[in-house]
């Protein structure tokens, strides 16, 4: 065990990152926070619409998107890659809907067919390009990301001021835009998620809102994958809203808790990764899941206590024999 788990050194794990290594730590934590909060905010609406799997589909379509964009534009600038991954995401959603509409295949099966086939296409294209020696896309980086490299990027300069690593700046902007969009279009997002029939009958274009949400999801996942990779981004979509759902049944509160959870996961994850010398993104997902389990155990304990109180009350009341059998 001594070799597997490094010794717990308080100074190295909790003090050093915020003193000697501050300039690195801050960007890792901020990036982790931006990614988790932006993914989590969008994820709330996925969960409400029972579409959690769509996040999985979009994140897997990134690989073929990147490869195809490179093949078409012969270029690997950020914007080309972004555009390729983004369009692949939306195309995946359209394919899923097409399959679902044109056949009696259930949505979950349609999602699995669409994204595994697209992912396979991406793998095949990539390996063929690699064997020709045309490009080298680091598949490991696409799938797992590397948040520790973010602070090493040459910083974005704006009006002569150094702001920060471009990926983190981009992710920060995405987070702000997502949060603003949710605040501004709260009512539309709410009613289309709760009761699409009513929304349509009120004259709202529900498919426009559906694709707007899918577009936001694609943007969030595509901007996140550099840091956390396509697979861990899925966790960031689902775990924060699940955490929030354990603690509140009021949507605005849930959205707030999602952001809080993102901050906590980023900080806890950083310290965990320093302690274990492991991947930052992986540690952040572990921290996020740990917080979810805490919240879940907390609500379970709460509901058990409530129930035992209720049983106490009933057993004192002679007139309710049928409740006592609980």
């Amino acid at each position: 065990m001594q070799q597997l788990i490094p010794p717990f050194d308080w100074h190295r794990i909790f003090v050093q990152p915020w003193t000697t290594d501050f300039s690195i730590t801050i960007w890792v934590v901020l990036m982790g926070f931006f990614v988790t909060a932006a993914c989590g905010l969008v994820g709330n609406y996925l969960l409400l619409r029972r579409m959690a799997l769509i996040g999985d589909a979009i994140s897997h379509s990134i690989l073929p998107g990147l490869v195809l964009a490179f093949m078409i534009f012969k270029h690997n600038s950020t914007w080309v890659m972004f555009l390729g991954a983004f369009s692949a995401g939306l195309l995946t959603v359209a394919i899923i809907e097409f399959i679902h509409r044109q056949s009696r295949i259930k949505p979950d099966a349609a999602i699995c067919i669409a994204f595994t086939v697209l992912f396979a296409l991406g793998v095949a294209l990539m390996s063929s390009l690699e064997s020709q020696g045309t490009i080298h896309i680091d598949a490991e980086c696409v799938l797992y990301g590397e948040i520790a490299f973010i602070p090493l990027e040459p910083p974005t300069v704006w009006n002569g001021m150094e702001i920060g690593p471009p990926s983190a700046v981009r992710m920060g902007i995405v987070l702000v835009v997502v949060a603003l969009a949710i605040a501004v279009f709260y009512k539309e997002l709410l009613v289309t998620a709760f009761d699409g029939g009513l929304a349509k009958s009120l004259g709202m274009r529900t498919s426009v809102w559906h694709y707007a949400l899918m577009g936001a999801l694609a943007i969030v996942v595509v901007s996140a994958f550099e840091a956390v990779g396509a697979i861990l981004a899925v966790a960031m979509l689902i775990v924060p809203p699940m955490f929030a759902a354990q603690l509140s049944s009021i949507l605005p509160v849930r959205l707030g808790l999602t952001v809080l959870h993102a901050g906590l996961s980023a900080v806890l994850g950083l310290h965990l990764s320093v302690w274990l010398n492991c991947s930052g993104a992986g540690a952040m997902v572990v921290a996020a899941a740990f917080l979810f389990v805490l919240a879940w155990l907390g609500t379970m304990a709460g509901s058990i206590r409530n129930r035992s109180l209720a049983v106490d009350r009933c057993s004192r009341d002679e007139n309710l024999p049928q409740v006592r059998s609980l």
Partner: protein, 257 residues
């Protein structure tokens, strides 16, 4: 307004055919609903009652035919239509309060990105009062009983302040007292000149509740004043000789004068 003016006809349906996966479930429905009436839609399970209501509002693609609401397309007049879906059509674990749900009835009158105003909240509160749910305004909707959920949906439809209401089984799962309260509300709306189409399952009370009946079973079997169409022959055609139902109906008919 003169009589032939179609803008005073709340609902006109011509040759409406609706199909799921190319299999038609409603054929060639033709009808004209007069203003200010309380109309029951009855028919067996799977007759296409919900499908009819959804097709009228454009929630489903129609294979042929057209629908006019007060003489215009649904889209142009959607603000004049109130909708109460079947209770099972939504997820009651959704993290919203009773008040939030009723306020959704006001959304059709708000602009893009506009928040409900004080006045909207006032109207929503009044509607909750009418269905006796005001004390529950801040409850999460999952903590309500089935009958209470049904009343919340009714309050939401009332909050739409429409001229034509389409209601899918508003009486399912409510107790007798609530049912009486709801029918009183619907009659009050009718007396204010509103038109209501209500899907209903209980034949015994259908005769008493509605001025007119639409009898559906994939086709329009009959549409007319309740006295004229609530006959054993027409019911037999609608329900296709289902003995239990028919014997009940025979009983109803023999006990009502």
């Amino acid at each position: 307004m003169n009589a032939p003016d179609s803008s005073s006809t709340p609902l006109e349906v011509h040759d409406l055919t609706v199909a799921y996966h190319k299999k038609p479930v409603l054929y060639g429905i033709d009808l004209q609903v007069p203003e200010g009436s309380l109309i029951g839609i009855i028919g067996p399970n799977g007759a296409g009652k919900s499908t009819f209501i959804k097709a009228v509002m454009g929630l489903l693609p129609v294979s042929s035919g057209w629908v006019k609401i007060f003489g215009k397309s649904y889209r142009e007049n959607c603000h004049r239509v109130g909708y109460m879906p079947q209770r099972e059509s939504v997820d009651w674990d959704f993290p919203v309060s009773v008040m939030d749900v009723v306020l959704m009835g006001r959304y059709g009158r708000l602009r893009l990105a506009q928040r409900p105003t004080k006045q909207d909240r006032e109207i929503a509160r009044n509607c909750l009062e009418k269905v006796k749910m005001l004390p529950f305004a801040n409850r999460q909707i999952g903590n309500l009983s089935g009958g209470q959920q049904q009343r919340v949906f009714l309050a939401r439809a009332l909050a739409q302040e429409s001229d034509l209401y389409l209601m899918d089984e508003p009486f399912v799962g409510v107790d007798a007292a609530t049912e009486a309260a709801i029918i009183a509300l619907l009659r009050e709306l009718k007396s204010r000149g509103k038109t209501l189409l209500v899907v209903h399952h209980d034949l015994a009370s259908a005769k008493e509740y509605f001025d007119k009946l639409i009898l559906l079973n994939m086709r329009l079997v009959a549409f007319g004043d309740t006295d004229e169409v609530f006959t054993p022959e027409i019911l037999q055609t609608t329900y296709g000789g289902r003995l239990t139902i028919l014997s009940e109906v025979a009983q109803t008919l023999s006990t009502t004068p």
